[in-house]
């Protein structure tokens, strides 16, 4: 799962990007224009390396952190089948994190360095995981709609220019299709269930539409020279707004079909085929990215706890020759 396709938070660095050899740069851009993939040992502009690395790293962190809100409900899944599906999904998300860290590592940053940057708050992850999963219906909404959003984003990114990222995404998208379907199944089960179940899923929808789902793809892009370059380099494949429109086009009808509502009175399909909607509070989006969301502290505290409390296991495995110690008593 992933969203906020591109969180740009250090424009200063971007402006100071170094000047590249024009001949190599032209050849690099020509390769991308021809549809070739860039591989780890190919020449690439420093700015390309930095941007792709940051994007894959954010994606990896999002998968790892994304396992937490859903993991909350493993112990309390309503049936054995739902529990098995949820465990499998959460395991997949962590697996995706590992695949993506591996892809990011090919650009020269170690996994330890990436995790340290996550724990220190330097690296970001998708905002959507900083909101709590309050009831079982939240799990259905996440599995259905957050994963649907992730698929829109990841199918676009899978056509990008960096080979290792595309290959990781190929497998990830395949597994996400199961996530989406099991989420849709759980969602429909509640929506077609008892009045209390319908009420539960409606309540979850109301909380997840604003702000998490409407924030998911990030604010409408300002078309700058920088954005154009990222699109030319096939780092960014679709604008945030294009992805949001694609998402609404595919999924709003599926929600309405079940007689459920979305908490946006403006929401409707316009005559030109695009969707009209109320802009969410983008100030909140930036507040949450910078640490002030309902669950930011908890999410990072859990990761820190896991790293600290897993250390003795890693150390024991690292040094299997450790001597036997005679017990005290």
């Amino acid at each position: 799962m992933y969203g906020n396709a591109y969180i740009e938070n250090d424009t200063k660095l971007v402006q100071s990007a170094q000047v590249e050899d024009p001949e190599k740069l032209a050849e690099f851009e020509a390769r991308i224009a021809r549809g070739e993939k860039i591989e780890p040992d190919d020449w690439m502009p420093a700015e390309y390396r930095r941007q792709v690395l940051r994007m894959i790293e954010q994606h990896a962190h999002s998968e790892i952190i994304g396992a937490l809100p859903e993991g909350t409900w493993i112990t309390r899944a309503p049936t054995l089948k739902r529990k098995l599906a949820l465990i499998a999904k959460v395991q997949d998300e962590v697996g995706h994190g590992h695949l993506l860290y591996a892809a990011a590592e090919t650009l020269g940053k170690s996994r330890e360095a990436m995790i340290n940057d996550l724990l220190s708050g330097k690296s970001k992850y998708s905002n959507v995981f900083n909101y709590p999963a309050k009831t079982w219906a939240d799990i259905a909404v996440i599995g259905f709609l957050v994963d649907a959003g992730a698929i829109v984003n990841q199918l676009a990114n899978a056509k990008g220019s960096y080979g290792p990222y595309c290959r990781a995404l190929e497998r990830i998208c395949y597994e996400e299709s199961f996530h989406l379907k099991q989420g849709y199944d759980a969602f429909v089960a509640l929506a077609t269930g008892t009045p209390m179940q319908r009420e539960m899923v409606q309540d979850a929808l109301n909380r997840w539409w604003f702000p998490p789902l409407m924030h998911f793809f990030g604010p409408p892009d300002t078309i700058s020279v920088h954005t154009e370059k990222l699109m030319r380099w096939k780092v960014k494949m679709m604008s945030n707004e294009e992805m949001r429109q694609d998402f609404m086009e595919q999924y709003v009808p599926k929600i309405w079909e079940l007689g459920l509502t979305l908490p946006d009175p403006k929401l409707k399909k316009k005559e030109d085929g695009s969707w009209e909607y109320t802009q969410p509070d983008w100030d909140e989006f930036f507040r949450v990215i910078n640490g002030d969301g309902p669950c930011n502290k908890e999410r990072l505290a859990v990761r820190r706890y896991a790293e600290e409390n897993g250390r003795w296991v890693r150390e024991a495995l690292m040094n299997p020759t450790i001597k036997h110690i005679v017990p005290y008593a």
Binding site: T72, E112, N309
Partner: protein, 135 residues
């Protein structure tokens, strides 16, 4: 103060757990290249890497990461540092001669040569007859 909805996280007592000192370099170990076989008798195919402290753990992690869904009959794990490779930038070393049909069966058109020979033979046999008719 973290008040989680997850009972397991509440039990973990995050408030009193030690502060993070960060990961040390290589604390997540070296990488192993993983080769996956989906059917007995087919080639093992490279599918990705895992981080592991030793080959046995690499196999355990690889089973989870690359063998949890699709059909798997076997997995190989090879320490990444044990893989010797050329550089892609040197790929021109593989272009030795421009044309390699001399290494292919198709580079030897034997039948063409035989047919040409038989044609010539036939022409020679008919030649005297033609001369007689003219005479």
């Amino acid at each position: 103060m973290v008040t989680s909805l997850d009972p397991r996280i509440r039990r973990a007592d995050l408030e009193h757990s030690p502060a993070s000192s960060g990961l040390n370099p290589n604390e997540h170990w070296d990488t192993f290249a993983i080769f996956h076989q989906d059917k007995r008798g087919t080639a093992h195919e490279f599918v990705g890497i895992v981080h592991a402290p030793d080959p046995e753990m690499a196999l355990v992690f690889a089973k989870e990461q690359y063998g949890r869904r699709k059909k798997t009959v076997n997995i190989w794990a090879v320490r990444s540092t044990d893989i010797y490779t050329f550089q892609h930038k040197d790929e021109d070393m593989f272009s030795t001669v421009p044309e390699k049909t001399y290494r292919e069966a198709s580079g030897y058109p034997v039948r063409k040569r035989i047919n040409k020979y038989l044609e010539e033979l036939k022409a020679m046999r008919h030649k005297p007859v033609e001369e007689e008719e003219e005479a």
